[in-house]
Symmetry: C2
Subunit: 483 residues, 2 copies
Amino acid sequence: MSALEKLRARLAELVDLSAIARLAEWDQLVMMPSAGGPARARQAATLARLRHERSTADEIGSWLADLDGQPLEPLEADLVRIARRDWERARRVPAELAAELAQAGAEGQECWQRARAEDDFAAFAPALQRNVELARQQGECLAEEGQSPYEGLLGEFDYGLRESDLRRLFASLARELPPLVADAEQRSPRRPLAVGVAAQEAAVRGVLARLGVESESWRVDVSAHPFTTWMSPRDTRLTTRYRDGDVESLLSSLHEYGHGLYERQIDRRLARTNLGAGTSMSIHESQSKLWENHVARSGAFAHVLAEEMGAGGFAVEPSELHASLVGVERSLIRVSADPLTYPLHIILRFELELALIAGELEVPDLPAAWAEQMWALLGVEVTSDAVGCMQDVHWSAGAFGYFPSYALGCLIAAQLWERMSEEIGPLEEQLRHGELRLIQEWLGERVHRHGRRLDTLPLVESATGTSLDVEPFVRYVAPLAGR
Amino acid sequence: MSALEKLRARLAELVDLSAIARLAEWDQLVMMPSAGGPARARQAATLARLRHERSTADEIGSWLADLDGQPLEPLEADLVRIARRDWERARRVPAELAAELAQAGAEGQECWQRARAEDDFAAFAPALQRNVELARQQGECLAEEGQSPYEGLLGEFDYGLRESDLRRLFASLARELPPLVADAEQRSPRRPLAVGVAAQEAAVRGVLARLGVESESWRVDVSAHPFTTWMSPRDTRLTTRYRDGDVESLLSSLHEYGHGLYERQIDRRLARTNLGAGTSMSIHESQSKLWENHVARSGAFAHVLAEEMGAGGFAVEPSELHASLVGVERSLIRVSADPLTYPLHIILRFELELALIAGELEVPDLPAAWAEQMWALLGVEVTSDAVGCMQDVHWSAGAFGYFPSYALGCLIAAQLWERMSEEIGPLEEQLRHGELRLIQEWLGERVHRHGRRLDTLPLVESATGTSLDVEPFVRYVAPLAGR
């Protein structure tokens, strides 16, 4: 076998191992009897260790060295380029540190669950402290020439993004969004809609069916926290959840669909290579946010949602349903935030995690800093740490540098949507009739098919012709405030 | 780390990989969208290849050499003894032959499915021919000093069994059972019971709940072919199937429960070692057959089954239900055979596969040989190859030497049941009231806890005080013929 063939075989093996690891995780969250937990944790750790060994092995370096300077087809050149990057980055974190990170992350999550339930930040602080210190070390290992540790961490989720990009974008948002919030709370207030679970289930089933979700290559299940995963491009698994008197299930189903569609529409030639996956967290989130914000929350698509809900036995006017999906209300909780205030929740977290990793904020001072920022950005008073700095799992699991992708996803979704509308004309009529094929195809062509061949920023430029920018998102939310 | 620690760590890794492979298989058969099949096959192959590499690696040999002659605790001595045996056996089959076997088995199954659907033995014959040839080579690799290739294959399923043991046992059965069949068809004829699916589901749920099947550490799902698997001792997954107007679901649920209970009651000290699994196919089958034949098919337990069926809305007299579960009828199909004729179906297959591997029967002559044996043993005329020599998947997948375990399971179950009855007294009262704890505990103590520390024959002797024998089974079926 040539070096390229050997490399490809190893990459295919790693793809298979990752798919199996995702299966083990999906099963744990959706199917597994609870008593299976401890054994599953060991099984997942074994898989992760094997995957780490096989992805950082010396022989990969010698194959890459053999390939150095060889003339390659463009696709193969990308494959080798990304393989080299992944291999070098994975080897920068020593095995002992990787093991400590995994263990501290697992212990941190356990500690966080208990501490959050008892609203006891002091009980959580030591675990968080440990995670911050280990993440800083990890960031130092991963940081490339001229990068900060935080940028090293950021590269794990969104390669090529700089701290300065984020500071600039988030500063614009922090300037432009708050003035809209007060007006939006008046003009587009939150209006709960008392839909029962059965009607929600019918609507979710009906809408997903219109999007092409069929049982031959998709599963739709229920889990405590909605997520999407995939075992292959033709085995996509969405999960959602239903709560009585709530329409979140509609938004979350479309959100999860966006993640699923992305992985399904990657160029088949990239399958079982290192390129055959979504390129970054923020591009992935842009795909889910596009379906959540621009489809599910559009006035036009509310006709389709209302129709499906009616078929499920709950009669509602499209305008009333739409109002319940876009209502604005400043609140403490990120995951239930409206589309306008959502990015402000992220900016708060970005600034605090940046300060934690830089050593400019000490863990014991986190609750006060959180309360202060929450007041400054959202004008909301933090009533307890459980709904304040302990509301999210991420830091407890050691994930720093992840939060920005949630806000970037909103921005990129708006930018893609504007560009799509310019190119294929106003989309209202199609949304109104639930005809989404042109949207699916445009996304497939402009975003999905590239897999990991383009990183976040080049992909945004390639798809939209402009660089990453906040204005399309501001234009998307402005009507909520009557602007 | 000491050699023993290194060995233990590798064995734990292999246990984890096997559990994950079982998860992938369970998911494929129970949950996976059908379009996920091709990718899943590749993922399973990758796992199998890695597992093979890690279980046959040279370093295991050097750890074993270091351990040679070292004083060890009894449990550790067993662990090392079985590790050596597994490692040596796995290395006897060259990697190329292992790959050919896997591929021919997969292709053979595909070919068989098509050929069986069209009742076209000629279309299947080349694939079967290839499987026979490869199995013969595999058997030659595996055969130990003085063993035939067939015994080499047999050792994969039931280590330590000899061809001569099987010939002797099966000759007794072939002599003792046929005279009972004609009488049993008169005295205990097959009586279908037109139970709907809902009542079956209720009965299965109710009965399994009485056996301790709770949702914290078990799953019960539906699959096309009932099977049981486990991801750990506290994550057991049964599957069953329901057909309208049939009581097979009751039998198969209890059967599968027997497999599940075995793996759950293995000594906890053996968990994550090479000893923490059922010891052989025939002992495993004895556990399923014990619950199927001696519990589910007993007149006493029919009271419990009838009560649960009544709770599910289907009123039936225990005696009527019992009659439908034990009715005898000579037929062509193994999987739906009654308890008396079942072993005759196995004897037929044993004799033919023995002849195929020994080169004494050519594949093109198989249909005629099958028909002849079917007539001789069961007095049934074979109407087509689809319900004749193509009815089972095993040979198409390359599994030769597996069938005997089905009949041995029946024999061992009867032998264990007799011994248990002698030791803890007549079990009728307990069966009648669904109190099964003493049975579960006796099996745990005498059979389950040993894991792989005892092979089939020593385990039978240890559990029953006698060697493997047909008489208890003959005594179990004799009442069906009024003897």
